[in-house]
Amino acid sequence: MADLIFFESIQRSLETETELRENIRTAVRDLERTCRTVAAILSQVHSATTDSDVGQQVNAALDRFANIRADIQNVAKLVPHEQYYRYNGMFTFTLQQAIFLAAYIVYLQTEKLLTVPQVEEMLGVEVSLRGTSPTFHIGIEDYLHGLVSITSELSRLAVNCVTHGDYSRPLRISKFVGDLYSGFQLLNLKNDALRKRFDSIKYDVKKIEEVVYDISVRGLAGNQTAEKR
């Protein structure tokens, strides 16, 4: 016996499937590592004391971004046509992390929100908000998760800027995060994970507000340029 009468072809396709999942898992792990490296570089922005220091870190991160793009391509190549959502649970978290890194870099460079064309260019992946693309793409929830993540990073940055005597950046961060918050308020969030994270934006907004208060009450905003740059 041991001959499969009933399930032979199914078993074969399940084995192919298992193998595919293992390949994807390996590729995702590589992507994860690259993301962690870029995150480590960007986390030095918190200790940067001048704008040019910030610029340097951002450039270093940007250089490494090519690796992220390459790693994402490797994942993307593995995902079969029209089966994107069969496997996306395996990389969605890492993809959101990559989007966050892109959004953070774009913010540090331009102080603007990462646009859809920008994310497509940086990650080398199509954005398909409605998820109608048959191939590997970035869906609406991945994009939103990526954006949520920058608010907490920026609230931390606002705090550290003050420590380093940079009193103007927090004011700009405050405006940006507030605007982002207004945007999120327009959404009807069902998805529990996203709603929960959205609730946390409020705390970030509040925290940044407090930094702005501290700066303004001490009249620090004006001094800076004179003192530091």
Binding site: L171, R172, N188, K190, K206, S216, A221
Partner: protein, 239 residues
């Protein structure tokens, strides 16, 4: 086979007739339950959207948002009207497990609207009066249980609303919510209804978050300059 194979034919008509009737009744009851579950899901979804809408209130859009929320509320009431025929008399409690979640969510949304509008707790009577159809007829009665459980969930939304208010700088609203929630939680603790007790820990943690938000404002706010000064300062920025 012996007996078995032909048995359906043998069976005396009184048994076959009885069970044929029972079969029809059972199918009817199941179909009805299925319809109620589906409408309850719709009511829940619509109520959640109404709540989310109310959280969007910020300054000058207030009256517009309130109007939209009242429209959503009317939509929910229409859904209740659709399901009402199935919930007459006895049938209300019979299908309570199916419709209950929808009722609770509606109470949460409607009482949240009341708080946002007037800063008060919606009474059961008041919410019940909302549930009338276009001919002015009462659609259904609100059960004490649903009212009590819907209000427990309201506290979570009030907590979110409070944090939003602190963010918007509306500290009086935050303090009012803190006072309101503290009183409400205090009374709620005295209610002796097991499912309500299960919601207490969430309610306590909502109050704790609100108290911390007010604390944070007080601690930072003590050093805070006049609004005028802050506005001036912001105007100075380049954007």
């Amino acid at each position: 086979g012996m007996g078995g194979g032909g048995r359906t034919v043998d069976a005396p008509p009184e048994i076959i007739d009885t069970f044929q009737e029972l079969s029809g009744v059972l199918d009817e009851l199941h179909d009805r339950r299925e319809r109620i579950i589906k409408l309850s899901r719709d009511i829940t979804i619509c109520s959640k959207r109404m709540i989310f809408l109310l959280h969007r209130i910020a300054g000058i859009n207030r009256s517009k948002i309130l109007a939209e929320a009242r429209d959503k509320q009317k939509e929910i009431i229409r859904l209740f009207d659709q399901v009402a025929a199935e919930l007459k008399g006895n049938d209300f409690y019979r299908h309570h497990r199916s419709i209950g979640p929808g009722c609770e969510e509606f109470i949460e949304a409607a009482s949240f609207l009341v708080y946002v509008e007037r800063g008060e707790l919606a009474t059961k009577d008041e919410l019940q009066k909302l549930l009338v159809n276009e001919e002015g007829k009462q659609i259904l009665e609100i059960a004490d249980e649903d009212y009590i459980l819907g209000l427990a969930d309201l506290t979570g939304e009030l907590m979110r609303y409070c944090i939003n208010s602190v963010v918007r700088g509306e500290h009086q609203v935050a303090e009012d919510i803190c006072h309101f929630l503290r009183t409400m939680k205090n009374e709620y603790e005295i209610i002796d209804y097991p499912p309500a007790k299960k919601k207490m820990s969430t309610m306590r943690s909502s109050l704790w978050k609100v108290e911390n938000a007010c604390y944070a404002y007080k601690v930072r706010g003590a050093e805070r300059p006049s609004q005028y000064f802050v506005d001036e300062l912001q105007r100075g920025e380049s954007y």
